[in-house]
């Protein structure tokens, strides 16, 4: 849950800044991908059919892949990402190949299949060696180090992760003028700060968070600022500076108001409740504790929502399939019943005719 904000910023630049967007519809689809994945898939498919530029096709495939991953259909998501990989390979465009590989790695990390993610990150490194224009790949390289950092943080420990976070920051810094770079640096610094907290390096953590806040302010990224303020408040709490922590959290809460990020809110409420508890303000503690629990429930509900939607969709599909089966078989069955009835009538009729003929013959034989 903690790297939620990060995945968003890593995935989005591909569409928003990484390459030219072919039309406004595509741009809407990319922004909408988490809200209306089905529509994004539809637009992606349409674009896939109509466009003849390989680059656009790769973008369309990546869009569909992201849409499926937001619907929790990871297998489909990977299928399209891998298709994008094949396509970019056949086009021989190394830069877009690198982007696609990063995306697949991030996808696997999101699915918590970290070994597979690392495998793709290694592939990225090999491919990058063959790419001569490193300057134009700073953002992707930085993202790559960032993903590595997250994986090592989950899999190994924060010491190793911090090294990768530093490498990521170094890459992003090489392209300072790009606002997306600053945003990414801020994200990585926030995560680095968290790592320092867990390593009990409060001062380093504080420095990271402060820097992150500064960058976020520069590009006016409220959610990033709020995240880092939360981190800073945590370090203040650990120093016993509850009042300072509270004022930082309150300011963060103000910044987070319009963001509507439940994960962020939950963290802020928890920080507030902890600090009020330390100050023996039970009334405020209760208020924010309840808010924490409530937000936790909302997050869970939102997470389950996608399953609910997928299940509903699946149910509708199965319902339709069942209807199809019913129609198909009922037609066949009715046809069979009809033929059986016709045959019965025919047999009855023929037998009657035969009996008549036979009776006549008999009467002539035995008059």
């Amino acid at each position: 849950m903690r790297n939620y904000v990060l995945i968003l910023t890593i995935v989005f630049p591909f569409f928003l800044f990484g390459q030219k967007v072919s039309d406004s519809l595509f741009r809407v689809a990319t922004i909408d991908v988490y809200e209306h994945p089905e529509r994004s898939i539809e637009i992606g498919e349409r674009m896939l059919k109509t466009s003849d530029r390989e680059k656009d096709k790769v973008s369309a495939l990546l869009l569909i892949s992201t849409a499926y991953s937001s619907q929790r259909e990871y297998e489909n998501s990977l299928k399209y990402a891998l298709r994008a990989k094949d396509l970019s390979e056949s086009a021989g465009d190394i830069l877009s190949q690198l982007k696609v590989i990063n995306k697949i790695a991030a996808q696997y990390h999101q699915m918590r299949v970290n070994d597979k993610a690392l495998q793709y990150l290694d592939e990225f490194d090999k491919l990058l060696d063959r790419y001569p224009y490193k300057d134009s790949a700073r953002l992707i390289m930085g993202n790559n180090y960032g993903v590595r950092g997250f994986i090592y943080r989950d899999k190994l420990n924060c010491d190793i992760a911090i090294d990768y976070f530093n490498s990521a920051i170094k890459q992003f810094r090489l392209d300072k003028d790009n606002p997306m770079m600053l945003a990414n640096i801020s994200v990585v610094l926030y995560n680095k700060g968290n790592c320092f907290v867990s390593l009990n390096k409060n001062d380093s953590a504080k420095a990271s968070f402060t820097q992150s806040i500064m960058l976020a302010k520069k590009i006016n990224a409220k959610s990033l600022q709020a995240f880092s303020q939360k981190g800073l408040a945590e370090t203040l709490t650990l120093e016993g500076k509850y009042e300072e922590a509270l004022s930082e959290l309150k300011s963060a809460n103000e910044n987070a108001k319009d963001v509507g990020d439940l994960v962020l809110n939950q963290g802020l409420y928890k920080g507030l409740s902890d600090n009020y508890l330390a100050l023996n303000d039970w009334g405020s503690y209760q208020t924010y504790y309840k808010k924490t629990i409530l937000t936790q429930g909302q997050i869970k509900k939102a997470e389950r929502n996608s399953i609910g939607i997928s299940l509903k969709k699946h149910m509708e599909e199965t319902e339709m399939e069942m209807q199809n089966i019913r129609t198909k078989y009922i037609m066949a069955i009715s046809f069979c019943v009809l033929i059986i009835l016709v045959l019965c009538v025919l047999i009855f009729h023929k037998q009657k005719k035969f009996q008549k003929k036979f009776g006549l013959l008999k009467s002539r034989l035995y008059p």
Partner: protein
Amino acid sequence: MLRKLLICITVTCISFVFCQTNETAKLLTQSENRVFTLPDETIKTVNFLLKSGREDVNEATLFLLLAKANYAKGNYDISLTNAFEAVKLAEKQKDETVLTESLIFISLIFDYMQLKNGIDQLKNKFPQNELSETFLKYHNALTLPQEKSVQNFREILKRTKNAARKEVQIVNNLSLNEVSRFYAERLQVDSAEFYAQDAVSQSKNDSLGNYFLSRSLVSLGNVYFLKKENSKAEEVYESALIFAENLDNPFLEMEIHHKLAANFMAGKNVGKFHFHNQQANNRQNLADQNENNAANAAYQLLSGEQDLKVSGLERTMRYWLVVLCVVLGILILLRIFLHFRNRNRLKTYQTLLDYLNRQEEANGEARETLAALQESRPTTILKESENHILSGLKRFEVSKKFTNKEMSLGMLAAQLNTNTKYLSEIINRHKQKNFNSYINELRINYITEKIKNDPTYLNYKVSYLAEEAGFSSHSTFTTVFKAIVGVSPIIFVEFVKNQKENPE
């Protein structure tokens, strides 16, 4: 000696089997009792039993046990998979108990994960029984607004008090915790403490297992925390944590670490607050992963259920289609069979009719031809001798002499005191056939008359009939019979038999 040995072996075998059955039952009861305390041991035992493929254990029960054990460990994905397997098997075996219990554990996980669609999809699977009713009441209470839900929980408590069945006791324990939580949220600490204490002692008395004891202890700890009795709260949380750690349940551990962190924060112990916060975060990662896996498993299992419905429908439909096709095939075959049978019967009757008609006509015609021929006779044979031969032939036809196997043209000529040339010419002229046809016809007509008029002939074999008619071989008789009558002797006999039996 040998007999004694045999008896000995048999007795040993029987006692061995009996022992094994007993042993398995013991193992199962033991696992059942300890599943919420030592889930790992239960998992080991069940896996052993599943691998050994014993016929004396119900597989559905084993999967249910696995589901319970993994529930206690917080492995919700594995628990769901096993519970669904148990549901499938229980539905097949119509085992209501296992079905209800499996559905309860699936619902408990779905409730925790807030997967509403999932429970909706499963609700109608619950069989009609008291346990289902009690559990669904509990489940509904969870979804109600708090004031209302606490009333329902109290009703459930009344209903489930001093219950003997473990699952009902579990519902009782969960409800006690819910009621305690309700009062704690309203800061009515005395009521909250009363229900939490009750939950702890109930889980101990009914030996529900450490999982439920740990959860109840957390409720009690929460009350002490609210009463600001921090050291008491710490003590209770710590004992709950030991149980949770032994179970290796990240969800429980995470919750307890959070509680401990808050408790230390209230005591301004930042170091311990930080420690438990970090611990909680570590467990959170594991718990998130588990929950994520469980969500995916739930999706797979639920959509699998739906797919099963589709394949079930298709199977039923296909079954009926096949049945109808078979019926159709049978009817077509019947029609073909009837067609040929009818045609054969008509043909046979027609042939016989023709034959019989011919026979009658032949009798009438013979006289006419004779009279007519007597008038015009372009022949060298004297009229007297011709008449003599003709009357001789008539006698011959009336007699049974033609049934003599040796009968030939020469022999008949000798009997009629004439030569073969004359006889042959007269037969040719008067009967319009050669001697062989003439005699064969006489023989066949003779035997058909016999068959028609003498019932004993109906039971004779063809070879006897051939001999009786004067044929030396059975096959010549059949060939000649068919050539003259139109049907084989067997069919003719059958026909006459039928006519005798159904004379209409």
